[in-house]
Each structure stands twice: as structure tokens, then as C-alpha cells.
């Protein structure tokens, strides 16, 4: 989350043809961040467990999935998914071209950008359980899984655009 705006925000989904490596995801998100106009970002994809969850090897560490950091602006989040889908809310339509250009620069394979309503606007029961009856900042709605932890999975970015 970066800035507040009084213009009409737009929500878009970036859907690449392939799953992104952590480095590619970081590069893409960095480019989008620098393009400006961001209100919020949500990344989604299949889980990368830290340990084998089932079977005879249950509990053994999966080293490949450990210590994956996603650095963006002045924040670093632990990457716990293989990035396959990115939801963005932009301040206004004028930033769409910047996002598209960032995708074209970063992704070497086809991708789709769809504009649609992505984040829910009213608190759900899960939001009530997580945030209480009064949501301090409504932009957090829809950013974290019902079972996700806000402290672990949510980062608030500054407005500096990584400069």
C-alpha cells in the first residue's frame, strides 16, 4: 500500500502464462512499484511448504523453499508461494500503461492483464475475526487469506517508490 488518492481507482489482474521465479517476481513488482500509482498489491500462487507435509518424509525440510525473500521498496516479505497471479489496485487509469510496460520489460513469455473488480469492499466474517468490528484501513480487505497472518503476510510500503 502506498498512497491515498481521491481519483477513481482501477483494479487489474496480471496473469502470466508461466509461474514466476522469485527473482522474476521481485523484478516485476519492483518495476510496477517504480511506475507509481499503486494502492495495493496482492500476490497469489501455490504454496511452497518449508517442510514435507505428508508421507514417510514428513517434517523433513524443503531447503529450496526456505529463505525466499521478496524485497519491494523499503520492505521485505517472506515469499511463501510460487507467484502465479498478481492483483493490483491503481490510483487511476493513467497508470495502466506503466504496468503493462513493466510486464513487457520483465516477462519473457505471454501474460494477460484483465481489468475487473478484485478486492471485496465490505468486511467478511473472516475480516471481523481478524480485524474486529472496526477496520482501521479498508485497503487491507481482501489482501490476506482468511487463515493468513496479517503481521507475516502484509507489508505497508512507503510512498518513496524505491527512490
Amino acid at each position: 500500500m502506498v498512497t491515498k488518492s481521491d481519483t477513481e481507482p482501477v483494479q487489474i489482474e496480471i496473469f502470466p502464462r508461466k509461474f514466476l521465479k522469485p527473482e522474476t517476481a521481485e523484478c516485476l513488482l519492483g518495476e510496477i512499484y517504480r511506475a507509481g500509482g499503486l494502492v495495493r498489491i496482492m500476490i497469489q500462487g501455490p504454496n511452497l511448504p518449508k517442510a514435507v507435509p505428508y508421507g514417510p518424509g514428513k517434517g523433513l525440510p524443503v531447503d529450496e523453499n526456505r529463505d525466499l525473500l521478496l524485497k519491494l521498496g523499503d520492505q521485505a516479505l517472506e515469499l511463501r508461494v510460487k507467484v502465479g497471479r498478481i492483483w493490483l489496485e491503481l490510483e487511476s487509469e493513467e497508470y495502466l500503461e506503466g504496468v503493462k510496460a513493466a510486464c513487457e520489460r520483465t516477462l519473457s513469455f505471454p501474460f494477460e492483464i484483465k481489468r475487473k473488480r478484485l478486492f471485496h469492499t465490505k468486511p467478511t466474517v473472516s475480516d471481523y475475526a481478524k480485524y474486529g468490528s472496526e477496520v482501521e484501513d479498508e485497503r487491507v480487505l481482501g489482501l490476506v487469506d482468511p487463515k493468513g497472518k496479517r503481521e507475516r503476510d502484509l507489508a505497508v510500503l512507503s510512498d518513496s517508490r524505491g527512490d
Partner: protein, 257 residues
Amino acid sequence: MAYKPQYYPGNTSVGANRRKHMSGDLEKLRDISDADIVSIMGHRAPGADYPSTHPPLAEMGEPDCPIRQLVEPTPGAAAGDRIRYSQFTDSMYNAPAIPYWRSYWGAINCRGCDPGTLSGRQIIEARERDIEEYTKVQMDSEMTDPALATMRGCTVHGHSLRLDEDGMMFDMLARTELGSDGNVYYSKDQVGIPLDKKINSGKPMSEAETAKRTTIFRCDNISFGGPCTAESRSFDEGLVALHHMWERRSKWGFRPE
């Protein structure tokens, strides 16, 4: 004239590949050593004796039974091996095999095996030395593309997901990796336990190659009805045969008295 089985109808390349899989007339593309196959399966250490669940049949003194006299036991059954398994996950992005065709291949060509078909994975159970032999055939032949088909005993998720940037099927346990030499290496066995050394399972096929060898009908490759345009409305025999089966099935089930 000698009877020649007609395994699957149709003139598409997918139909031809399905017939190849079912008949067991498979092209061998690579040679992974027996010890490596055993390591990836993870049931016993390579070179170790086969544990047994019963004495060899020759020592047991079997009852007088005409069926037992007719059917020769497999080597694993004769030795009294344990039942063990190997399980594969095949990507929907034009993997050469799919669960049903691995099962058809197993049921038709492998003696003493029990194939299990699931939506995203396929398991074959058999006596230990038999399943090792059957697994080697699968991994060495055109049934397997190392990038699009992985031996996964558990945590099989990935068959219906998009591929990774390097063309590998997603695996949350990272059992396989694409090496810098272009080969796919197993670094873990089928249940995610790290191996002592990485095992080379060969080079991935190109996209054109997988499109040619796949047994999956896809609208972006070979569609189920074959090439069918506004000018040409004749469906492939595979689809006609399926319609025929469904028609008969419906009429057979519908019995107005």
C-alpha cells in the same frame, strides 16, 4: 489371420500415441540405471537384498490348483517380495502419458500389477522386483518426459498448474531440477527424502516434441474431434466411437416396459 488387437480408434497423432502406449510398443529414449531407479523409488537401498513377506513359492509347497499350474508367477511373486509402488504425476501441458494411459499400459503389459488411476497421478503397485522393472520401462521410454512427468509418491500437486519459467512442472517439494547442462536431475526420492547424489533423468523434450508425443487431447494441439472446420464436419473416429458407446449405454440403460 492372426488376431491383432485394435487398442484405440482414431487417425489423430494422439490416437496413434494412445495405441502405442496400450500396446507397449514404446520407443526407448534414455537409459537410467537400475540403481538410480531404485534410489528414486526409495523403498530399499540399491544393491540391498529384497525383503520378503513369505518364503519363495517353490519352498512353500503350493496346493494342487489348476490355475496355479496355468499361471506362471512373476519373479517377484515367486521370490515372495513385498508389494511396493511407484507413482507418477503427468502435466496437462502435453505430457506424453496421462493417468488412464499409464493404467492401460500397466494392465495390458505388466503381469501381477495393480494400477490405480486418479485425476492428477497414477500409481502402480506390484511385487518389489516387478515394480522396479515396470518403473524403469516407464522412465526410460517415451511415456515420460522428465520435465513434464515426475515420480511423486506424495504431495503430487502440480499436474494442472501452469509450468515454471524453465518449462518444469510445478513441484512444491522440489524433487527435480533443471541442471545447467540441460538435463533434469532428481535431488529427492519420490516422497521428498533427499538423495545421496543427484540422478540424471535425461533431457526434457522440446515443445514440438511433446505436442507430437502426447496422449492428451487439447484444443491448442490436437482436439478430440480431430481437425474439424466449417468446411469439414467429419469427426475423428475416436469421437465417433465415444458417441457410439454413449448412445448404446443410454439406450441400454433406458428400458421402457
